[in-house]
C-alpha cells in the first residue's frame, strides 16, 4: 500500500485532478438537460390497428392480419394451456403473426412498456410481481372487456361468453361501476385442505363444528400429530379459511364491510369469535411446532408428510405439491366448521373465486385480438386443456365432464356443489395488496397465531391499519356494488 499523495514537482497531482474533474461534472450537469429523456415518456402513439370485418365467426371484428402479442405468467399453472390456445388463434387467423412470451417477472418486464404506452395485447398479470390492479384501473390503463363478455361464445353462438362463466367471475373484474377490467381465468377453491386417509386412520370424519374440530385435534395430538399448520412466513394464507369462517358466523355482509374499509368493520362480533377460535388452536398446542418460521412450501411439506391434519390453502396446492403428496393421500377440501348453532350461514359456505387475472391494456395495439384470444381460452376445449394440465378449474362453467379428475379437483367440485349459492368472495387481496398481505397477514394474524398478540390486540391493530388505508389518499378505494 503505497502513498497516494501528490508530489509537488509534477504539476497536477491526482487529487487535484479529481477535484477539478468533479467541478467539471457539476458544470456539465445542467447542460445535459437536452438529454433529459424522461423515464416516463409521453403516452405513446395511439397507433391501433384497424378493425377487421365483423361476422358470425369473428364477432369482435378482429383484424385478421394484425400481429398479436401475449405475455403469460409462468408460475404454478405453467404456460401450456396458453400455448394451446395460442395455437388455435394462429390456426383461425393464419395471416396474423402471434408473439408469445412467458415470464415470472410481470412487473419488471412490463412496467417500462406501460410507461412508454406500448404494452402487449394480452397479459396474465399474476405472481409475486403482479402489477397493482387498483393502480392500473385508477390510471385508466386497462381496456373494458364488456365487448368480449357480450360476444357469442365459441361452443354455442346462442349464448354469450358472459353466460358461460362461473358465478362471481364477472363481478370480480369490476372495480367501480359496469366496466369489466379483468378476466380471471382460473377458478380457485379456498378452504381447509386435508387428507381423507389421515382422518380415516383416526376414525374421524371432517369436523362440521368447532367442538368436533377441537376434539379431533386433541385426538391427533395424543398420536403426536398436530391439528393445524399454515404458511408461517406468509401468514396471509390464513384468511383462505378464516374469511369464509367469519362470513359463516356473521354473514357475508361482514366481509363486505371489511372490503369497503368501513370503520369498526373488524370489531364485529363475528370477527372476534373467529379470531378467538383460531387463537384457541394455538393456545391448546394444536398448531404444528415451529409453524411461524415455515414458508408455504415448508408448511405444505410437513402437512403432506402427515405431521399436521389441516392447512388453510387454495386448490393450486395439489399441483404445487404433486411431487410429495402421497398416492393414497385422498386430498380433500373442507368448508369452515360451524362455530355454533347461531351461525348466519349454513355449513358448506366456502370461498371460491377467480384467479390468474388476464388483462387487455387500454393502449394495446390489437385489443380485439387480445379479447379474441380470451374468447378462445373460454371455450370448452381450451378449458379442458387447462384443467387437465393444471388440476384447477377454469372460469368456464363446466368443462369437467369426460376428463379424469384428480382427488383435490373432485373434492373441490363437490364442495362447490354443496355450497350452492353460499359462495363468498372477499376482495381485500385484489384491492389492497399491502393491507391484506403485509398488515393484516404478517402483522396481525401472523403475530396472533404465533402467540405474540391476543385476538383483541390483533383486531385493534388490524382495524388501525384498515382505517389508515381508508384515509390514505394515495391509494384508490373500491366498494362492493
Amino acid at each position: 500500500m503505497g502513498s497516494t499523495s501528490a508530489h509537488n514537482n509534477e504539476g497536477l497531482g491526482r487529487r487535484d485532478l479529481i477535484k477539478r474533474s468533479a467541478a467539471l461534472g457539476v458544470i456539465t450537469v445542467p447542460t445535459m438537460s437536452f438529454l433529459a429523456s424522461c423515464a416516463s415518456g409521453d403516452s405513446g402513439s395511439d397507433e391501433k390497428v384497424e378493425k377487421g370485418t365483423k361476422s358470425a365467426e369473428n364477432p369482435l371484428a378482429v383484424n385478421e392480419s394484425a400481429p398479436l402479442e401475449l405475455v403469460i405468467f409462468d408460475g404454478g399453472f405453467g404456460t401450456k394451456y396458453a400455448e394451446d390456445a395460442k395455437a388455435v388463434y394462429a390456426k383461425t387467423y393464419p395471416k396474423a403473426k402471434v408473439t408469445f412470451s412467458k415470464t415470472q417477472k410481470i412487473q419488471s418486464v412490463l412496467q417500462p412498456r406501460f410507461n412508454g404506452g406500448t404494452p402487449p395485447d394480452l397479459i396474465d398479470n399474476s405472481g409475486a410481481q403482479q402489477m397493482d390492479m387498483g393502480v392500473l384501473v385508477g390510471k385508466k390503463q386497462l381496456a373494458d372487456l364488456t365487448p368480449l363478455l357480450d360476444a357469442p361464445s365459441i361452443d354455442d353462438p346462442s349464448k354469450t361468453v358472459r353466460d358461460t362463466l362461473r358465478p362471481g367471475i364477472v363481478e370480480m373484474g369490476q372495480f367501480d361501476g359496469d366496466p369489466v377490467w379483468i378476466m380471471y381465468y382460473a377458478y380457485t377453491v379456498y378452504g381447509v385442505w386435508y387428507s381423507q386417509t389421515a382422518l380415516d386412520k383416526l376414525d374421524a370424519t371432517y369436523p362440521e363444528n368447532w367442538d368436533d374440530m377441537l376434539a379431533l385435534c386433541a385426538k391427533a395430538k395424543k398420536k403426536g400429530i398436530a391439528g393445524w399448520t399454515y404458511a408461517g412466513k406468509y401468514p396471509y394464507y390464513l384468511p383462505f379459511s378464516l374469511y369464509p369462517f367469519i362470513a359463516k358466523i356473521g354473514g357475508s355482509e361482514v366481509l363486505d364491510a371489511i372490503d369497503n374499509l368501513e370503520p369498526k368493520a373488524w370489531e364485529h362480533p363475528a370477527v372476534k369469535a373467529a379470531f378467538e377460535a383460531y387463537y384457541e388452536l394455538y393456545k391448546k398446542g394444536y398448531v404444528l411446532e415451529g409453524t411461524p418460521g415455515l414458508d408455504h412450501r415448508g408448511s405444505q411439506g410437513a402437512w403432506a408428510n402427515g405431521k399436521a391434519l389441516f392447512i388453510p390453502n387454495g386448490s393450486w396446492v395439489e399441483n404445487e405439491e404433486a411431487a410429495i403428496i402421497p398416492k393414497d393421500f385422498k386430498l380433500s377440501v373442507g368448508a369452515p366448521s360451524s362455530l355454533d348453532a347461531s351461525d348466519k350461514m349454513p355449513f358448506g359456505t366456502i370461498w371460491a373465486s377467480g384467479g390468474e387475472p388476464f388483462i387487455v391494456p387500454a393502449n394495446a395495439k390489437n385489443a380485439e385480438g387480445g379479447m379474441e384470444q380470451l374468447r378462445i381460452m373460454l371455450s370448452e376445449a381450451s378449458s379442458k386443456s387447462f384443467t387437465t394440465s393444471t388440476k384447477s378449474l377454469s372460469a368456464y362453467n363446466g368443462g369437467t365432464d369426460g376428463i379424469e379428475l384428480s382427488d383435490g379437483l373432485k373434492s373441490g367440485v363437490a364442495a362447490l356443489e354443496k355450497a350452492g349459492t353460499n359462495v363468498v368472495n372477499p376482495r381485500l387481496q385484489d384491492w389492497y395488496v399491502k393491507l391484506q398481505k403485509e398488515q393484516i397477514g404478517v402483522s396481525g394474524l401472523g403475530e396472533m397465531m404465533a402467540g405474540r398478540a391476543t385476538p383483541a390486540e390483533a383486531i385493534k391493530k388490524i382495524q388501525g391499519y384498515a382505517d389508515a388505508a381508508a384515509k390514505d389518499q394515495s391509494i384508490k378505494h373500491f366498494k362492493h356494488q
Binding site: G25, S108, M131, V135, Q141, E447
Partner: protein, 306 residues
C-alpha cells in the same frame, strides 16, 4: 512539459465523464425529481405534489423502522465483519508459531483456511440466503436438528421470532462477507515489509502488540475502504437480498426485519407508488452519503509511507 496539459487531460476524461453523468448523476437528479410527484410507475401520467411524499414519509412508522434497521446494519456489520476478517487475516499471515527460517508465518493449514473463508464469496448471495433459510427452518432445519441432538428442547423459532430474526439475518451477512475481507487484508499484509516484523520480534513484542502497533496502522487505508464498502453493502444490495429472501413476509415478523431498500422495492414494485419509493430512495441516498462521510472523517489518519 506543462504546455497544453489541461486540454490533454480533459480530452481523455470527456468520454468517461459523459458516461458517468448520463448513467449516474442524471438518474440521481431524475429520482429526486420524481420524489416530488405522484408517479405510480404503471402509467405515464403524473402530477407534481410538492412535499407530500416527504410529509408522508416522516409520519410513516414503517419507514422509521426500516431506517432504524438499516442504520443498525450499517454500524454493526462492518464492525463485526472487519473485526473477524482482521483477526483471521492476521492469524493466517502473521500469527503462526515461528518456524525455522521464516520471520513470520501463518498458522498451520492457512492455505486451506484462505480457500475455505473465501468460498462463500463464490456463491451468489441469493443461494446463500436460501440455504440459510433451510438451515433456520424450525421444524426440519439443520440448526434446530443439531440442537435437538444435543438434548435441547424449547427450540427457538429463529426467523419466525421478531426478537431473533434480524440477528439471524446479520449472522448470514457476516458469514458471507467475511471471507472477501480476509483475502483483501491478507493481500494488504503481504505488502508490509518483513523487517518491521523482524525488528518487533527482536524487541520481544507479543503477537498482540505486533498487531496493534505494526499491522493495523500500516493496513489502515485498506481497512477504511473496506469499512465504507461493507457499510454500503449492508445499506444496499446485500442487506436487501438477504431480508427479501429469508425474512417472514418479507420484512417481518411484524416489521422486525424491514430495511430501507426493501421498503423502496415494495413501494415501487408491489404498491405501484414509484413516486413515494423514490422519496424513500432519496432518504437512503442521504443515509449512505452520511455514513461514508462519517467513516472518512473518523478514519482520517496520517499517511504512512513505506
Amino acid at each position: 512539459m506543462q504546455h497544453g496539459k489541461y486540454r490533454f487531460i480533459v480530452g481523455f476524461l470527456i468520454a468517461p465523464m459523459a458516461l458517468y453523468v448520463i448513467f449516474v448523476v442524471w438518474p440521481f437528479i431524475q429520482s429526486i425529481y420524481y420524489s416530488f410527484t405522484d408517479w405510480t410507475g404503471l402509467s405515464p401520467d403524473f402530477e407534481m405534489v410538492g412535499f407530500d411524499n416527504y410529509t408522508k414519509m416522516f409520519k410513516d412508522d414503517v419507514f422509521w423502522k426500516s431506517l432504524e434497521h438499516s442504520v443498525l446494519l450499517a454500524i454493526l456489520l462492518p464492525l463485526v465483519t472487519l473485526g473477524l476478517a482482521l483477526f483471521f487475516a492476521f492469524m493466517l499471515n502473521v500469527g503462526g508459531r515461528r518456524r525455522k527460517g521464516a520471520v513470520i508465518s501463518g498458522v498451520r493449514g492457512s492455505g486451506f483456511y484462505k480457500i475455505a473463508y473465501f468460498f462463500p464469496q463464490v456463491l451468489s448471495i441469493a443461494i446463500v440466503a436460501i440455504l440459510f433459510q433451510f438451515a433456520f427452518d424450525p421444524a426440519q432445519g439443520m440448526i434446530n436438528g443439531s440442537l435437538k441432538a444435543f438434548g435441547f428442547d424449547h427450540l427457538p423459532n429463529w426467523l419466525g421470532d421478531p426478537k431473533l430474526a434480524l440477528w439471524c439475518i446479520m449472522a448470514v451477512l457476516v458469514w458471507c462477507t467475511t471471507g472477501f475481507f480476509v483475502v483483501l487484508f491478507s493481500a494488504g499484509m503481504a505488502s508490509i515489509p518483513k523487517d518491521f516484523y523482524e525488528a518487533a520480534l527482536l524487541d520481544g513484542a507479543s503477537r498482540f502488540t505486533t498487531f496493534f502497533r505494526i499491522t493495523l496502522p500500516l493496513l489502515w487505508d485498506t481497512v477504511q475502504s473496506g469499512w465504507v464498502y461493507m457499510g454500503i453493502l449492508a445499506l444496499g444490495a446485500e442487506g436487501f437480498a438477504v431480508v427479501n429472501i429469508m425474512s417472514v413476509g418479507p420484512g417481518g415478523p411484524d416489521y422486525s426485519t424491514t430495511v430501507l431498500p426493501l421498503y423502496v422495492y415494495q413501494a415501487a414494485f408491489r404498491d405501484g407508488q414509484a413516486g413515494y419509493a423514490t422519496t424513500i430512495g432519496v432518504a437512503l441516498l442521504l443515509v449512505t452519503l452520511a455514513f461514508a462521510a462519517v467513516v472518512m472523517k473518523l478514519g482520517r489518519r496520517e499517511r504512512l509511507e513505506y
